[in-house]
Symmetry: C2
Subunit: 206 residues, 2 copies
DNA sequence: TGTTACTTGTGAACACTTTCGCATAGTTGG
DNA sequence: CCAACTATGCGAAAGTGTTCACAAGTAACA
């Protein structure tokens, strides 16, 4: 518990959390490691092992209480509080991100949306008003943003990254295929849907 | 080489492929394991180990030839041909997916886009014309689609999944948070941007 | 040609992850 | 209250993945 989670465990716990959140919406109060494992595409033993490393959350013969297990995992991942996001790019992808309820459910709040296109500035995406990209750095500092999401056309991605870094951020999520050059202390997580398809398909071909 | 790749290796090779594709666009002809590793967020030894398992692609003292390494990895992942995708949902997320160049670059072709909203049917997304969701099953069979992408509101996701499964598909990419119930032989890959944020953030908190 | 700097490829050690098998505990129904 | 069933938690074994350290090959340049 005082030890740091490994990447694998942290990733799987996040998946379990998503499954639990949805499961609760469907009205179920109890869930077995078997059920979690089916939705998470892992082995049931793996689920039990992951959870038992932090305490005995389950009841033998019954399963896990959805509500309390949810809180337990949130505690382990430190997802109690709210994390503030800045979104750069108010196109289709940006809008999709801004209007998704997923973030809200997991403790993320999109605090501001930016675009370089004057026509988009002042319009609404989700419950935000698009601000001009010139203000990125200043507004990020002002709002205490910890995480930046880049959802702009590939050719503007580097510029967006630099503005966010200027604003004091050190965690960027890049939804473009562009390779971003950033200072060493900044981490870039690249989200590329095609990439996952590529290796997922490998397991079905031949 | 006759052995099957493990998930980890396949995932990393896909990442390297993305890095190489972008690197080539920037005009560079040669790349070192060090450079690949920086963009892919892994250890340089890991990169060399991954690649050397399939042959000696590099030149000592120099690095790897971007063009030929690209083909080699494409060969390993069987990404020569074109894979056909059906997209369900023509909202913001669907449009973002349809207009992204990422898929084209990696051998994916979106063959058809569907929506249940009569107002969207007949309109254009990317270079496709939106078709009515009623036709999903029939059109999937007709077009030989292998992979379905679900980008609809959460409450319609299960319906979309069923239509795609009816159309003979067994690989679904689910961009909603909904837990999909599908036959055993169907694999669901859930893509949840918030999930990755969740566990990425863990490593910065505390 | 000799020297220096660079970078791959890999043996070996280490560390981590996954899975099996089963004892243990809770639940249900007669 | 007992028997049958279900599902967790965990020791131990097996299986993978990662990293170190360095020999060997390449290039550039004086």
């Amino acid at each position: 518990m005082t030890d740091r989670l490994t990447l694998g465990v942290a990733a799987r716990l996040s998946t379990y959390l998503r499954v639990l959140t949805q499961y609760r919406k469907q009205g179920s109060e109890s869930i077995s490691s078997q059920e979690i494992s089916e939705y998470a595409n892992v082995n049931p033993t793996q689920v039990r092992r992951d959870l038992s490393a932090f305490g005995k959350f389950g009841k033998r013969g019954v399963g896990y209480d959805v509500k309390s297990l949810t809180s337990q995992i949130q505690g382990i991942l430190h997802t109690g509080g709210t994390h503030t996001i800045a979104l750069v790019g108010a196109g289709h992808l940006g809008s999709a991100i801004a209007t998704s309820s997923i973030f809200k459910e997991h403790g993320f709040r999109i605090a501001a949306a930016f675009d370089i296109d004057e026509d988009k500035v002042g319009t609404a995406v989700g419950d935000l008003t698009v601000e001009h990209a010139d203000g990125i750095s200043a507004r990020c500092r002002e709002l205490g943003v910890v995480l930046g999401v880049i959802a702009v056309p590939p050719e503007s991605a580097q510029m967006a990254a630099e503005a966010l870094v200027d604003g004091g951020l050190s965690i960027l999520f890049n939804y473009t295929e562009t390779l971003l050059d950033v200072p060493e202390d900044v981490t870039v997580h690249t989200i590329n849907p095609a990439e996952e398809m590529l290796y997922a398909l490998y397991f079905y071909l031949t």
